[in-house]
Homo-oligomer: 507 residues x 2
């Protein structure tokens, strides 16, 4: 195989989106990415992930940056590259289901502003929540990538993933992505799933593999996925890699030498990109993830690193920091009761918070509204049956029936309403883009519109200029690196006449 | 393959020796290792590397710990484990060649104090420098592991490594080790070399693979080595892994799930070992390697991470910090002139320092004594021819002839002399062990013998107790984590009438 010309393995660079979302709490300012763009544009990547996920929220919440302007800037600075985004299906980039025409509009506007590749996922792998956005992407002529969220449970099988892949292909997806957000994908399953998809659906079905690095095994999983026929993999430049982030791009390149596969990436440009972000990264030290090494415990608990750290902080606020082990043991039970959803935004927060409640207040004595909705079908279908007793309790709590239809089918056209609400706001420029911004983040957008004219605010700082804050002192704007955006939600919970304040921060 | 019972892959745990040597400048005190020993002993490792390399030197130089006592303590605390050490062939644990009967005595004493597995290497892969220690190990009935130092050059081939393996097997080695000290071993060569050894020499020839993690690709290399038939691999518990260290033990275990291979290690014990060293590691923060991520540039320069950082500090002392790129480009040239030695203690220091001299003072205008010795054959034979003009200059400089014999053949029996010198010292207890300690470290042992009675000195400190030193302020005892022992050697060099002080610190 090394004698013939090697097979090209395409690469998606994550530095501009998921890498800093995973490592630096999504705080990187556009101006710190600009100097790397020329090298990124010419390094030979298949695509550059640079938008979506939590970046939209972080832009308006923390950076006073217009996310649409960020997208247009990337379009200008990366003229030769496919720009790629992560889209949460019917949730778009927000935290609720949107009515179909809003989803259409969002996709149209993203495409018009320069987006090329839409990676669309649903936290429950309910394809009904993907269909509308996939169709919208197809209508724009852009690349629709259908996503399989990878998880492990008694119900998840290779055959099940193949069936999911088949539905996505039937829907017209241009490629598939196996998305392993918690670094659970081991080498053998990586090989088995990619092989099975290629065998069942045909060699020509394009398979991308996205893995995180937290458990330390996933570069091996990428090797096995490539041996099984994967067409493309996601990596991040080394200076923004590892820990809860991703495998280093340069290591992928070197790993493949003489194997019969090659990325064709330009190593000199990669090293310049590396050097740039090695200089930038220390400016965001206060947001840096406190997971630095390898965490294989995730294989048992199946809880992504970011969730653990959030649950620890929730427990601390309740003076119950010592109960983390109970919570870690409770999460898999809650997940089983909820029909084994993958744990990814927003299901990870919903399941994690309910597990905290169960430990603090007794199992299902108190339900969050989101958990009740999950049990009643308002996020979609789960792979497994949900627990009957908990469903019943959820119905009593939420005073709503169980549903089996696609959740967005219950929504009525809302564009005009959303438009009117946005236009009412000081600083809103009347564009569809502004309407979408407000639609997705109604709590945050009004302030952003008001302050937008002041221009971007870079929250990074010269690591040598200011003394580091004393250990343990909470900087007001500081995340712990685990949460992309840190929009805290407070609950007041009454149990046996005692009132509890519980603050929940998204993972 | 997953249907039948999986093949057992044996594991050597590095936490107690190479892991803290690579990450924490070999500074870990025995008392910080003791609490983990029971779990290590029962986790199911094939062996526990815990002695040799730079630990002997660090014990007497920094920790006021008797290294022989450390060995006896491990023997007591790890009753079910094979204890393993790294031995530099005819150099033993020192920095010069020792006469054969001294080598014999060292091996006998190490075996008598509890050592089971002797991994013996020579920096030039000159097997003549291994033969005597291997024979000595065989005489004690212990396990002799012959080592192939892995490097990359126009002259190093799979066939060459197989021939080296054959010589080691012929010598009576019980197993072979492929030792990749600079993380240069990529997956395909790992597969090719292990396959070729097994094919040529027989499946029953036991092959161990030791890799560092610096370049980020070597866990994949371990996977490929295992697929090629490797019997055992080296890893370090995750909380003492990665960077210039090694791949995480827990990740290896998880990586192999369902692949047809298994380590059989007890994950619950591994996680307890992990937790222990996660607590210990911050105590040694001041010694922590400043390489934290992945460095793939090593593939081009072939310079181990530790060497780069030492050369930077040498250049800084000369007010020439800006010339590091010239030095990095010079190292491969010096290495080629010297016949392509692998870069490992002591060849890495010798080649690196000469490269610094070449850049600062003109190519081969000034030679170090060690570099002259290397060129003249006093360290043994190199794989490639050494440059004639440089050999001639080395002869003029050192006023010695070129040799082609085994270097130790020039030495006359020295035990009685070494014994007399040691017995003369205050605090020497008259044992062969003390004589060997002094023989290997004549500059350091006298002070150690005097202070030994005061007991071990733990140089770790509570990270919360003392304020961290200001960035840039040099703590007197602090290493930068790159050098295991930091025994600086100062040269005064005159060139065109100008005097230069050059301080060289071993990598």
């Amino acid at each position: 195989m090394t004698q013939n010309s090697p097979k090209k393995i395409e690469v998606t660079e994550l530095a501009l989106r998921d890498a800093h979302q995973s490592l630096l709490a999504t705080r990187m300012a556009m101006e710190d990415m600009v100097p790397a763009c020329e090298d990124i544009d010419k390094a030979g990547y298949w695509s550059v992930e640079c938008w979506g996920g939590a970046t939209f929220d972080a832009c308006i919440r923390f950076l006073n940056e217009d996310p649409w302007e960020r997208l247009r800037t990337f379009r200008k600075l990366l003229p030769n590259s496919r720009l790629q985004m992560l889209l949460r299906g019917q949730n778009l980039l927000g935290y609720r289901h949107y009515e179909d025409t809003v989803a259409d509009r969002f996709v149209e506007k993203a495409a018009a502003n320069g987006m090329d590749v839409f990676r669309v996922f649903d936290a429950l792998n309910d394809v009904r929540n993907l269909r509308r956005s996939i169709k919208a992407v197809k209508r724009t002529g852009k690349h629709a990538q259908g996503t399989i969220c990878y998880t492990v449970s008694p119900l998840h099988t290779v055959q099940g993933y193949v069936e999911l892949a088949e539905k996505l292909v039937d829907m017209g997806c241009d490629s598939l992505c196996i998305k392993d957000m918690a670094a659970l994908l081991k080498p053998q399953p990586a090989f088995d799933i990619v092989s099975a998809i290629k065998e069942s659906l045909g060699e020509e079905v394009r398979v991308h593999v996205h893995v995180h690095a937290t458990t330390g095994v996933t570069l091996v999983s990428l090797m096995k996925a490539i041996e099984a026929g994967a067409d493309a993999v996601d990596t991040a430049i080394s200076s923004l890699s590892l820990g809860p982030g991703h495998n280093p791009t340069e290591s992928l390149v070197e790993m493949l030498e003489d194997t019969g596969y090659t990325t064709g990436l330009d190593m000199q440009r990669l090293l310049r990109i590396k050097d740039h972000f090695a200089k930038v990264r220390p400016r965001y030290a206060e947001f840096l993830s406190n997971i630095t090494g390898v965490e294989t415990e995730i294989f048992d608990s199946q809880i992504p690193g970011g969730m653990i750290s959030n649950m620890e902080s929730q427990l601390k606020q309740q003076g119950a920091a010592d109960r983390i082990k109970e919570v870690l043991a409770e999460v898999p039970r809650v997940r089983a009761d909820a029909g084994y959803p993958p744990l990814v935004t927003p299901s990870s927060q919903i399941v994690g918070t309910q597990a905290v409640f169960n430990v603090l207040m007794g199992r299902y004595k108190v339900l969050t509204g989101e958990f009740a909705d999950l049990m009643l079908g308002y996020y979609g279908e789960t792979i497994g049956a949900r627990d009957r007793a908990v469903i019943e309790r959820a119905g009593q709590h939420a005073k709503k029936p169980t549903i089996t239809c696609r959740p967005a089918d219950l929504l009525t056209p809302e564009w005009d309403q959303l438009r009117a609400a946005a236009l009412n706001l000081e600083g809103c420029d009347g564009s569809d883009e502004d309407v979408l911004t407000h639609a997705m983040f109604p709590q945050v957008a009004p302030r952003f519109f008001k302050t937008r004219a002041q221009g971007p605010k870079n929250v990074g700082r010269d690591p040598n200029a200011a003394p580091a804050p004393a250990p343990g002192a909470a900087a007001p704007a500081a995340g712990n690196g685990q949460s992309p955006v840190r929009s805290a939600i407070s609950y007041e919970v009454k149990l046996n006449g005692r009132s509890h304040n519980v603050t929940v921060t998204p993972a």
